[in-house]
Symmetry: C2
Subunit: 476 residues, 2 copies
């Protein structure tokens, strides 16, 4: 048995126990204490070092727990065999990953979905959250069903009944932290063996999510009314992901006939479903909101999905889906081991926000705000030097519109020019997968929800400069 002696001078803020633990561990790691070596008994070691038995006991227990030593009943403590393992030892020089922090802020950003802090109802939200935290301590700590807290699901069901004419039970509603997360749940619910169809052109993220989840995803072409039924058949699709209320980016509103045709397609096979993405229906600026496919579906084929990203804020991560009854049943049978991904604090606050009528008021306020924003933007465009070179389309349905530019410049060049001038935008052609026709060149997609009122002049000036320099380039 070696005579172990360690110094307890200058150990700084370390406890005696920590210091002793580190000394022995170091000796084990460096081989000073070889495997099988018996350590001194706690009492004699403590006496030798002039410390208490409890301190030695503490160090031994920690070394034992971590496996540096082992104990034999009624015999004592021995050094473990960790030979050959120390070569893979910790190093301070471990590589570290660092994100690039240089975020270029575009003077004119027609792609952002960030909202102006002035447009978030901070005072009401703060008040409701305080109320929730004062009144609802028990409820806040209670684990909610995987679909979300009942109060929020009931508030959403009420909202859907009143504003979307949808008659659904609160228990068919599944709340989740963003539609992206909900897509993942849908895949787990419907199956990894299904073929998912997305619109071409379309919202690119949907396809990315399906592919990232390892399921077959096919682009299906659209005509002027929405997804083509023939193309859907040809693609061998099981699940069609559509946005009939307002297609992104074309702005197409799927008419009732095509809606029924899609429902008819789904009704033909058990495996078929429709995911109805109703992402910005609250902001239809002309006429009433279009009735949802969910509300005219009696065949239990439509999964309705919506989010508070556009209607409240993208940084509060709350979305929801409405499952047909048999899928809601299956969800609770198969997937109820998942915890709901939204904090109860946010769920109860949002529930009150909806139930007390604040949500309706907020949407009405924001619809007016966006209408004024759009009108100001359009009139600025009409007054700008580019006016006679551009045509505005699909300006009524939601938070973006299309601007067709009369130019020969390719979209690629146009985007490069825009980038140079500090204009962030996208072209319709970028959302197309099947580019054979190339019928959609020279059409800009302008999301205006992120443009501030007092930046409109500057944003349109930059956009106009860009369009004019395009045109000139083409004519040289």
């Amino acid at each position: 048995m070696p005579m172990l002696t360690y110094s307890f001078v200058d150990i700084g803020s370390e406890s005696l126990y920590q210091h002793l633990y580190k000394c022995i561990k170091n000796d084990v790691l460096t081989g000073v204490l070889s495997p099988g070596t018996k350590l001194p008994s706690k009492r004699s070691f403590a006496k030798n070092l002039g410390i208490s038995t409890i301190t030695v006991e503490g160090a031994y227990q920690q070394l034992l727990a971590e496996g540096y030593i082992y104990s034999l009943p009624k015999k004592g403590y021995y050094v473990s065999d960790i030979s050959g393992l120390t070569s893979v030892s910790a190093s301070a020089g471990k590589p570290q990953f660092h994100l690039n922090r240089d975020h270029w802020v575009y003077p004119a950003d027609f792609m952002s979905n960030q909202i102006d802090p002035d447009n978030f109802p901070f005072s009401v939200w703060t008040k409701l959250m305080r109320e929730v935290m004062a009144d609802g301590k028990e409820a806040l700590m209670k684990i909610s069903p995987c679909g979300g807290v009942l109060q929020l699901r009931e508030a959403i069901a009420g909202h859907l009944r009143q504003f979307r004419n949808m008659n659904v039970s609160a228990d068919q509603i599944i709340v989740g932290a963003g539609t992206e997360y909900l897509y993942g749940l849908i895949i787990q619910l419907l199956g990894f063996d299904k073929v998912y169809a997305v619109e071409d052109p379309g919202y690119q993220k949907a396809a990315k999510i399906y592919r990232s989840n390892g399921v077959a995803c096919r682009y299906v072409s659209m005509d002027g009314e929405g997804l083509c039924i023939d193309a859907l058949e040809d693609a061998g699709a099981d699940v069609a992901h559509v946005s009939p209320a307002h297609h992104y980016p074309t702005g197409i509103v799927t008419p009732i006939g095509r809606r029924y045709a899609l429902l008819g397609w789904a009704a033909e096979k058990d495996s078929r479903y429709i995911i109805e993405d109703d992402y910005d229906s609250e902001f239809r600026l002309a006429g009433n909101p279009i009735p949802t496919m969910q509300s005219i579906d009696v065949t239990e084929k439509v999964i309705y999905i919506n989010t508070f990203t556009k209607s409240l804020a993208p940084t509060i991560r709350v979305s929801y889906m409405v499952l047909p009854s048999h899928l809601a049943q299956r969800f609770y049978e198969k997937l109820s081991f998942y915890a709901c991904t939204v904090s109860t604090f946010d769920q109860y606050t949002l529930a009150r926000f909806i139930q007390d009528g604040h949500f309706e008021k907020h949407i009405n306020r924001m619809r007016n705000y966006y209408r004024n924003l759009r009108d100001a933007l359009l009139s600025e465009i009409r007054r700008s030097p580019m006016a006679e070179l551009v045509t505005i389309r699909e300006e009524d349905a939601g938070l973006h519109f299309l601007m067709e530019v009369d130019t020969l410049t390719s979209d690629q060049e146009l985007l490069k020019l825009a980038e140079e001038k500090g204009v962030r935008l996208s072209c319709l052609s970028q959302y197309e997968q099947n580019r054979e026709g190339k019928t959609r060149e020279h059409v800009l997609v302008l999301n205006y929800s992120g443009i501030k009122q007092d930046h409109i002049g500057k944003a349109v000036k930059l956009l106009s400069d860009c369009v004019l320099s395009c045109e000139r380039r083409a004519r040289i």
Copy 2:
């Protein structure tokens, strides 16, 4: 052209425009207006009905948007052909799914991870959230990187440096709404073609999540030190999901030798990784926390994952993982289209909570609370009639311990008895997949974090009744 006449008497709260829209829509749906029928011009229709042209215009636009009518340039409006589609018409009698709301509350619940509302730092949390909402409006509305807001990631990195001796960059940290969600991201990052290994016995949810995500998941047997390397090899596993700090439910702490052996296993092939689930390491009740595998890994093979579920509250959905640098890089290349699933409100509040030292204080307070709770529970057990029939094990590592019962009664019967007496608990054998040995019968897994101090007496009484009636039954 038919002479359309609608009554505008008794239309209640409907607007004239809505009423006209509904009347025409109804006539289209019921076939009163047949496909191809030309509708009256706006002006003559308005004059006929005694309403304004703008009202008719509104109704026509809505019907047009929804596809019930179509327009021909310079000719007018015509009824669409929706024949054969109306058979699939909306019905009020749509089936609705309803969850069973009868939740039986167990007088003694040894499986809950709910926390007592008294243990959540409501006053500090409310204060911080108010500060965040008052000071940080711009920041709260700004969309965070997919890994989470920098301030929270830096706070977590600081915490890991100080308390887990882990030296990681904030950019290697990915924040998400629960570990379950993060597992899904890991699968997308490492690949659906990989074989995932989970511990047998083990935390059942991990296997459920892998299977639900459609990836191969194999149970790998454990010995007294953790996952067996040979079994891991035999399983053909690529990714090993382990909880070396405190295995659930056995309580095993993986010693340093096995940790290095696991790292050695992972280092052998490029495709191999280790997911280190450190879920309740903050609550080790004796000695220091065990060093993480992440901190001794120089081969970039360990994905460290932890949660605020145990350390703060399960209803605030915040978890995080630390990716090795090359995986962090890959994450931002492949998966940065995902939005972070945690609300910025919660992220900034938690960041302040950690940075201002509240988290450390809270953990220390809770560790004492749980130590006292455990001690009270153990002493109650020792005083109870069942004392001589039971042996307590693994009571130091986290928020549960094992209680071996000296009985011949099968676990199945034991669980039935417990259910009858209102005791919710699980047996070690329930966590085993490979039941050949059946070496783990008669061992109860007692999670005590959900037991209230003043319910201990009652809970132990019920548990003791259960154990005693077990024994008697076996001897009859």
